[in-house]
Amino acid sequence: MMKRFALSMRKWPLFYRFLCVILSFVILESLVIFVNLTHGGDRGIATILLLSGILAAWLLKPIKAFAIDICFLVCFITIHILLNGYSFVVPYAISIGVVTDLLAVWCFVTLIKAMDAIRELSQVKEQFLANINHEMRTPLMGVMGHLELLEETDASEEQRELLRHANYCGKELERLINNILCAAPVDVPPPHIQTFQLRQAVHDGLNCINVLGCQVHIDVDLDIIVSADRAQVCQVVRNLVSNAIKYAGEKPVLVSGWKRESGEAVVCIQDRGPGIPAELLPSLFQKFSRLAYADGPARGIGLGLYICKRFVENMRGRIWVESSGVEGEGSAFCFTLPCAL
């Protein structure tokens, strides 16, 4: 709710600024009329209010917003005189009204300016992330490309094994870079929907993952054709399997996929790791949420599951986790995708 409000505020800043000003005007104008009625000619109260108003306005002065405020001020004085009349309002009351109105406008303008500044900062952050991404991709391409070329030479079995490990690390680095890139924008990039065979995409997503003693078994039905974003599906599967490997260690990880009668495809990534305590399940898919390991601190940047959820939901699917939290029973991360046929 708050997020939606903030987004609409961002979309129509002028409209909200206007709304704030009108609201403050209504509230303060009624306050001024109230003070006038109850303390008609009381010089003391009027002077104190006037002085505190001036002090507060001086403390809060946002100089750049001054030009806009002068316009508002002229409108306020006119409306004030129209509403209260010269005869009814003693000069003090006019001053109080004007100063408090001005103060209110200044407060709201400061608030809106602060929000603008935050938005600008967030844009700078996004641009920065996009730039580092670009800068990191080129050297990564150099590493991965040369590894691939090395594999094509007649290397010994031991050298090939080493190359596979290096390749795996490269793939992991690529996955992290992709995660950072996807988590950066405020607006989710729309999926590029294609029709493809799910099994092949899962295999591509898990390219080079079976090294360092992990055992990933893939059992996805051959006849599932889904309509989704292929690159995003690969990324989701890789994120989920990487997580499973991180937590399950050398115990096997099973990736299974089947088609439901309702016409959606389900993919489940099941591990035999320590499982997830029930109290942590709700926050699992949030940004920067990380789980501590049984034997040490949390690792990773906490973006993997957040991105999985965003991607899957954008492709009209659902994602969830099943875990009893019992040691050895592990957990299962499942998601659905719409089938094309």
Partner: protein, 124 residues
């Protein structure tokens, strides 16, 4: 065997792609302006364009190519490091291919053999 022109400012990438595409005939230009001259001179079968280049970027070069009827039909493969959807949309305008770094030798070779197969009248 295909004739390929590759425009890229980074030395490392130039060498890597040269090795990826062995034994195809590959001509390398280090910016868009040089690339356009090289394309006019060599009339390649495929053009590989890095999107961010000094002097004249990949999309500008592609626009210049499309404006020239004798070069408009040469297939283009765009290479980008940004991985942003805008680039993908923009490159789709030139009915071209799009590769995001890091990509493998296999990906590039597959696309090029697809293009060659199509240009010799085969079906993909």
């Amino acid at each position: 065997m295909a004739k390929v022109v590759f425009c890229e400012d980074e030395k490392m990438m130039q060498e890597l792609i040269r090795r990826f595409l062995r034994p195809h005939e590959i001509h390398i230009a280090s910016d868009g302006v040089e690339g356009l001259k090289m394309i006019e001179r060599t009339r390649p079968d495929v053009i590989l364009l890095d999107i961010s280049m000094p002097r004249c970027d990949g999309f500008e070069l592609a626009r210049a190519l499309k404006a020239n009827p004798s070069l408009a039909n040469i297939p283009i493969i765009f290479i980008t490091g940004f991985g942003q959807k805008d680039d993908e949309k923009e490159s789709a305008k030139y009915s071209s291919f799009y590769l995001m770094k890091p990509f493998g030798a296999y990906d590039l070779r597959t696309i090029i053999s697809m293009i060659l197969l199509k240009s010799t009248g085969g079906t993909i």
